[in-house]
């Protein structure tokens, strides 16, 4: 990589790392895991900088999603990485938020990825499909199933999470 490319890559990381670490944290629920996920994705992006420099952020996100889904699947089980703040809650709205966060952490990997891409990244379905390597129809189906699963995981949310 020549000096100009290195500088442009470094400038990209400086400009976007703040946003990217947030996405990594939403995926992993753990600061160290998020940092490692981002580091790995940036290394892959740097290796292909010449071909992705026009849209590097999309490439980084794609690498993070694929890496994280792959790890979840390989471990063969679900585990809640990271937890919402503990404490005794007497506020119904706070209880609701805690329930939703717990349910999000408990979603299976692909359903969680679709929810994050759709509601946190606010990406169009076509782009979600491209990142996940599936059809737009599958993205819609997975989003629908994810909402259903969230209702199962947190029954107190059922009235708030209506099926679309």
């Amino acid at each position: 990589m020549n000096q100009e490319a290195r500088e442009s890559f470094t400038a990209f990381v400086a400009a976007r790392s703040g946003s990217l670490i947030r996405t990594a944290y939403v995926l992993t629920g753990d600061q160290h895991a998020a940092e490692e996920l981002l580091q790995n994705a940036l290394a892959k992006t740097a290796a292909r900088w010449r071909s992705v420099r026009d849209s590097p952020e999309a490439y980084v996100r794609k690498a993070m999603y694929h890496d994280q889904v792959s790890r979840w699947r390989r471990r063969g089980r679900e585990y809640a990485t990271g937890s919402p703040p503990e404490g005794v809650h007497h506020d119904a709205d706070v209880d609701l938020r805690v329930s939703l966060e717990r349910a999000l952490f408990a979603l299976p990997p692909r359903k969680r990825a679709v929810i994050v891409l759709r509601y946190f990244e606010d990406l169009p379905e076509a782009e979600i499909a491209s990142i996940m390597g599936c059809s737009v129809g599958t993205v819609r189906s997975q989003a629908h199933k994810a909402l259903a699963r969230l209702r199962e995981l947190a029954p107190d949310l059922a009235v708030h999470l209506e099926m679309s």
Binding site: F9, F12, A24, A47, A63, H66, G76, R97, V159, E162
Partner: protein
């Protein structure tokens, strides 16, 4: 509540989660590490140099259909300094240039388990353009699949199973299984199917009079292990089973049935047989659970 309210509820929840992330305090350092790992300065040579430092016995693969695959013979031996430097790069890539980590859900970085300089290549083998390796320290080891200094796995630390109080070679018998695991193949980003590609491997230790180790998987798949300095490693290709429901995670059903050690004359020294249907996943971290397998002792 309408779908827009769904979206708002979820967006707010995900934003609250994201707000708990610590910001990146050194973006320039983050970029530099990424560039270094991307091979901006040097690359691990996976051909001649690593083949030269691998064991003398090249792996022989017998596939289920009777097809025999032999890897290319080792290239000319590389200069010792080059070979040592390449091994060091492999260790650094395996270790992600830092200390090992605990398993997911447990403590993350484990600096007390050592730095990359405390680990060395125990045994490695080539799988296409990738190098599959076990790198170890006196306390334990790390498994990895590496290509161009990129490792697919976090450096999960696996303590040596069994009793090592009298040294790593003090186990009973002629061979000892230390781990079986699935590792993700490197593949290419953006190609969804590549993330289904896996290695299924077994690592362990053997005594000096062992000249060959054959591993047998289910469906009668066999491979000779790579041997080096008392450590062995054998692998086959694997992948998740495809289903119509993309959300169904069907884990590979690859299972090791037996491992046989032979002396130089071809005589069987020991055959280890896996319990039940065979061994799919094992490492010493499972020894802390109730009903620990027999591999945890000895």
């Amino acid at each position: 509540m309408n779908p827009e309210d769904n979206g708002r509820l979820l967006t707010e929840a995900l934003t609250r989660i994201a707000d708990r992330a610590d910001p990146v305090h050194d973006p320039a350092g983050l970029a530099e590490r990424a560039l270094r790992r991307a091979g901006g300065r040097r690359r691990v040579r996976t051909a001649a140099a690593l083949t030269a430092v691998a064991a003398a016995t090249a792996p022989l693969l017998l596939l289920g259909g009777g097809e025999t695959v032999r890897p290319a013979p080792p290239a000319a031996t590389a200069a010792p300094d080059t070979a040592a430097a390449d091994e060091r790069r492999l260790v650094n890539a395996c270790m992600h240039h830092g200390p090992p980590t605990g398993g997911m859900g447990g403590p993350h970085l484990l600096p007390k388990k050592g730095r990359p300089s405390d680990f060395r290549v125990l045994v490695s083998t080539e799988a296409g353009a990738e190098t599959v390796a076990a790198v170890g320290s006196p306390g334990g080891f790390v498994l990895c699949a590496v290509q161009n200094e990129l490792s697919t796995e976090p450096p999960y630390f696996l303590p040596w199973p069994g009793d090592i109080s009298r040294g790593l070679s003090s186990f009973p018998g002629k061979l000892r299984v230390d781990s079986t695991a699935f590792l993700t193949r490197v593949g290419e980003n953006g190609r969804g199917t590549s993330y289904d590609g896996l290695h299924h491997l077994v690592t362990g230790r053997f005594k000096p009079d062992v000249a060959r180790i054959e591993v047998v998987w289910n469906r009668d798949r066999r491979a000779d292990a790579v041997l080096r300095d008392g450590h062995f490693l054998a692998r086959i290709g694997s992948r998740y089973a495809k289903t119509d429901d993309i959300d169904v995670m069907v884990r590979p059903q690859d299972r090791i049935r037996s491992i046989t050690a032979f002396d130089a004359a071809g005589k069987v020294l020991q055959t280890w047989k896996a319990p039940g249907k065979g061994l799919r996943d094992f490492d010493s971290n499972t020894c802390r659970r109730p009903g620990a397998p027999a591999l945890c002792s000895g």
